[in-house]
């Protein structure tokens, strides 16, 4: 009697093992779900950075386009995080459809990821929209999403510039005039010191994201450059006295106690709770700052270096498509056209702080025109748009590691361990050896 129970137990265990091995089977995703084409939209808009606007736009699109369903997915750690996720997803064969790509990843994405050639796709599959890009975008804005050899790999979407946010209440306490914010970096240094001495509140913070955008604005506005092309090869160019002087200005502020060197979230938290006078970060944070601060948030354009030309890299993102099959590509294009329509762009700019890439949005009475007239902060940002340059993007397989080296040297310079000149020189050599 007992022996058959034993055999039964052994058979059950054997079957369980087989089931375990089998349960890893991949459920192949269906392209259409009852006639609907499902596409994925990857973005970096967290709750405090336009997340609600993204959800609204997606819901609106899904309602007005019943044959397409867009699923949005948030990627933490900004464009670096999104590119990492994208690369990992493509390595496992599961690519998203529409993606917000950061400008500084232009070259890396063009060289390493299999993207859909949008102009080619338009010509072949949606010829009615042949003139869409030329009609609606200025050539220098379109150029932001082109590689060095002129390939249009995406459609510009969000444009941001670095600006100087400040707290008028802290200014008044320190004896500074809130209607007359610092216009040059020398004035910023003086103001920060005055704030610290008169009120004890920290004076200035420059964003420290996992990229070098704001630092590039600082360096290039002083006449320095991030990258240069020598004999067809890209090399580090930030090893110059102009770059070192600009960076040293920041380091000196941290050294004399009027500048903050901390993580981004700490800096922004401090600003919003009134413990920091000035923050230099992206205009894309405007909507969130205005909503969360207990004081009236005021914005000044990015300060200049006396006698030098202002140069700010365009931040934000452009839209790329990675769909493989026809139906998904067409659906992705429909979605992109919707996102780039004046009404949707106005909504996006209102909910974030990004500036629209298309000219007609500013004149559009339905949306952005009124907002611009009422919001001085947006005007301050728009005034720097003529000075837009490309966000420096490190090419090649080691581009991402080169970017990390610049991030590391920022910590070294701001903590005072080395002077800017020494640190930039060492890093330039390191970067050149791996590029």
């Amino acid at each position: 009697m007992k022996s058959w129970k034993k055999t039964l137990a052994v058979i059950c265990v054997g079957a369980m093992t087989l089931a375990l091995a089998g349960c890893g089977a991949d459920n192949t995703k269906k392209v259409s779900d009852g006639g609907k084409v499902k596409i994925e939209y990857w973005h970096v808009a967290s709750e405090s950075f336009g997340g609600t606007t993204v959800k609204e736009l997606v819901a609106d699109f899904n309602k007005t386009h019943p044959n397409i369903e867009v699923v949005e997915k948030y990627n933490p750690d900004m464009y670096k995080g999104l590119t990492q996720n994208l690369q990992a997803a493509m390595a496992s064969g599961k690519n998203p459809d529409v993606v917000q790509m950061g400008w500084s990843y232009l070259n890396y994405a063009a060289e390493n990821l299999k993207y859909t050639d949008i102009p080619k796709m338009i010509n072949e599959k949606v010829p009615a929209d042949k003139d869409f890009l030329e009609k609606n975008y200025l050539p220098n804005v379109l150029a932001l999403a082109q590689t060095d050899d002129g390939k249009q790999i995406g459609i510009p979407y969000s444009v941001s510039v670095p600006v100087l946010f400040y707290n008028p209440e802290v200014f008044e306490k320190a004896g500074l005039d809130p209607n007359n914010p610092p216009k040059t970096w020398a004035e910023v240094q003086k103001a920060a010191k005055q704030i610290k001495e008169k009120t004890g509140i920290m004076g200035f913070f420059m964003q420290e994201y996992a990229d070098n955008w704001a630092q590039q604005a600082l360096i290039e506005s002083n006449g320095g450059k991030m990258l240069k092309k020598e004999n067809g090869k890209t090399k580090a160019a930030f090893d110059s006295p102009e770059a070192a002087d600009a960076y040293q200005l920041l380091a000196d502020m941290v050294k004399d106690g009027s500048g903050l060197h901390a993580t981004n979230e700490e800096g922004f938290q401090a600003y919003l709770s009134g413990k920091l006078g000035m923050v230099c970060t992206t205009i894309g944070k405007r909507a969130n700052f205005e909503k969360s601060a207990k004081f009236k948030v005021m914005v000044a354009p990015f300060p200049v270096f006396d006698g030098k030309q202002l140069q700010v890299p365009a931040g934000g993102n452009f839209l790329m498509v990675f769909s493989k099959d026809d139906a998904k590509q067409k659906a992705a294009w429909e979605f992109i056209k919707y996102l780039e329509s004046p009404a949707a762009l106005a909504k996006w700019s209102t909910g974030t702080g990004y500036l629209p890439p298309r000219k007609d949005v500013e004149q559009d009475p339905n949306g952005f025109k009124k907002m611009i007239e009422e919001n001085k902060n947006i005007q301050a940002a728009l005034s720097t748009m003529p000075n837009l340059v490309k966000w420096a993007s490190f090419p090649g397989a080691n581009g991402l590691q080169a970017e990390q080296m610049l991030i590391d040297v920022r910590d070294v310079i701001l903590s005072g361990k080395q002077t800017a000149a020494e640190a930039l020189h060492t890093t330039a050599e390191k970067v050149n050896s791996i590029l």
Binding site: T17, Q87, Q269, L276, D408, D411, L414, S415
Partner: protein
Amino acid sequence: MQKARIPALFFLLPAAVIFLIFFYWPLAQNLYLSFFQWNMVSPQMKFVGIANYLEVLGSMELLKNLGNTLMFIIVLLILNFLLPYLYSYILGHLVKKYNFFYRSALFLPSTISLAVASILFLWIYNPLAGPLSIILSGFGLESPRWFKENILVIIALSTIIGWKVFGYNLIVMLAAMVAVPKEMIEAAKLENASDWLIFKKIILPMTAPTAVYVFTITVVFGLQYVLVPVNMLTQGGPDQGSSNLVYIVYQYGFIFFQTGKAAAFAILTMLAYGAFLLLKNKYLDKRIHYEN
């Protein structure tokens, strides 16, 4: 006796299959990857032999990471091994009332996810607006930049892990404490032994097996836990100051997409841990008195 062999093998099969598929197969794949240069998406993998290993072994990064790893381990041992040991002795033998309250209160942080804990502590350590800085300013001190200074960052990150894992280790040690035969302790008390003497001569040897377990998991899992706060708060910074043997694998693999080098780091890390376990077996396990 022979007949019992075949069913026995069948019973072992599920566990063996899981081990093979999820532990040994990836290990073999990792070893294979470490001899190539590949960015995870390109269809070509370039064979480079032991070049990855040579680069890794000759780099300054390895030294810095080893140093950071050691520092992490020391701080984590204090927070997750020594402290729970002491607390469990106090809770198990010295505190008579409200034991249940202490146990629950101290275990509660373990239930919160590490990501949430990281954000919480980011706020607590905020040098201008956080609670800690307010307390320090009450004493007239300015708060250090916890996440931007080399040694402080390791301490700050370890406190996050300590806060979370302390409860679990405490409960495990408490179980061992409570299992110490009461007669021994009462006999020692009759002879007027101090609490410290009781701890040293009775508790320590009797709870040694569990203590070695907690010691081992603190070292082995500590760095893996630390990956979450490091990834969320400092990304290995400042200037690789919080990067460690486990994080460097992640950084090379998923931030730089240099999988060959990441795999080489991973193999070296595994060897380092293997050496640790060998030493532990040789020196610690011999001195433990197991019940049977």
